[in-house]
């Protein structure tokens, strides 16, 4: 049921990116889609009552470097977390690029409405 709510969030973002006519609203729709995807990936690796994937003092031996068995039984998955970390920073870079396109288009045409931007040569 939680996965279905995440998918609903993705569909809300998709509706905003397809139907709206304001350029900034389209950018906001793309951002909501990215949030939904990151959330779903982290939810896939969760274990009920688990611990974060960071070794403490009691979880591993310092010299022999062997991880305790109790840590192995309750830790959450670290692999989706590593992939989502880079995805969040990339979404910031692409947001900067999209907003710079919007600002440049507003400076040239005077509006954010995409149905009034028809001339390819200004």
């Amino acid at each position: 049921m939680l996965y279905a709510l995440c998918f609903l969030l993705f569909m809300i973002g998709l509706y905003c990116a397809v139907v709206k006519k304001n350029m900034v609203k389209i950018v906001i729709g793309i951002m909501v889609m990215e949030y939904a995807v990151n959330l779903l990936l982290i939810m896939l690796g969760y274990r009920l009552g688990g611990t974060a994937p960071i070794l403490g003092g009691a979880d591993a031996d310092g010299v022999t470097k062997v991880v305790a068995a109790q840590f192995l039984a309750t830790v959450v998955d670290p692999l989706p977390q590593a992939l989502v970390l880079t995805s969040i920073v990339i979404s910031l870079g692409s947001l900067a690029l999209m907003i710079s396109i919007c600002i440049r288009t507003y400076a040239k045409y005077g509006t954010f409405d995409i149905t009034e931007i028809r001339r390819l040569r200004g």
Binding site: G62, L85, V89, L92, S100, I103, Y106, A107
Partner: protein, 163 residues
């Protein structure tokens, strides 16, 4: 972009060093506790953005000029690729952790451990922090009514008549 009132300027001049110090802590201990290079780089960039919002753009331009920031950005990207190629030359495999496996194992739970991983954190901070500072600086400098070169030539007839 002008600055803000006296209260904001005073408080942010105290707080900016705390934010910078917190960012450096997140970066340096990134391999022992949550954090890492990406979060730390964004925190460092946001301390400069706080300065830009509170004091105006000219003070930040004097402190960290734009060519220096873009050179730091390119230096970070170049050093990251250099670390990868050094792994190929020294270790035999592309991007291997050659410091940990051959030269400097260090001890667990200490700052010097993990080989090239703390070095990668610092290099990522250079790249991410400088990039995000650059893009927010350029976004705040953009003026909505700036004209292109053709309109400037047409509206000002003395420009093309030089030399």
């Amino acid at each position: 972009m002008k600055g803000m009132t006296v209260i904001v300027k005073t408080v942010s001049s105290w707080v900016k060093m705390l934010i910078f110090l917190f960012g450096i802590y997140i970066i340096l201990f990134g391999h022992l506790s949550p954090g890492g290079g990406f979060a730390g780089g964004v925190i460092l960039a946001s301390s400069y953005v706080l300065l830009m919002l509170a004091f105006g753009r000219e003070l930040v331009e004097r402190n960290l000029p734009l060519p220096l920031a873009s050179r730091l950005d390119c230096l970070g990207a170049f050093l990251f690729a250099l670390l990868a190629i050094l792994g190929l030359i020294v270790g035999g495999v592309f991007f291997v952790n050659f410091l940990y496996q051959k030269y400097l194992p260090g001890s667990t739970f200490h700052l010097v451990s993990g080989g090239t991983i703390p070095l990668s954190n610092i290099v990522i901070v250079l790249k991410v922090g400088a990039s995000l500072f650059l893009v927010i600086f350029m976004l705040s400098r953009f003026r909505y009514d700036s004209k292109g070169p053709a309109e400037k030539l047409a509206s000002d007839p003395t420009i093309g008549a030089k030399e």
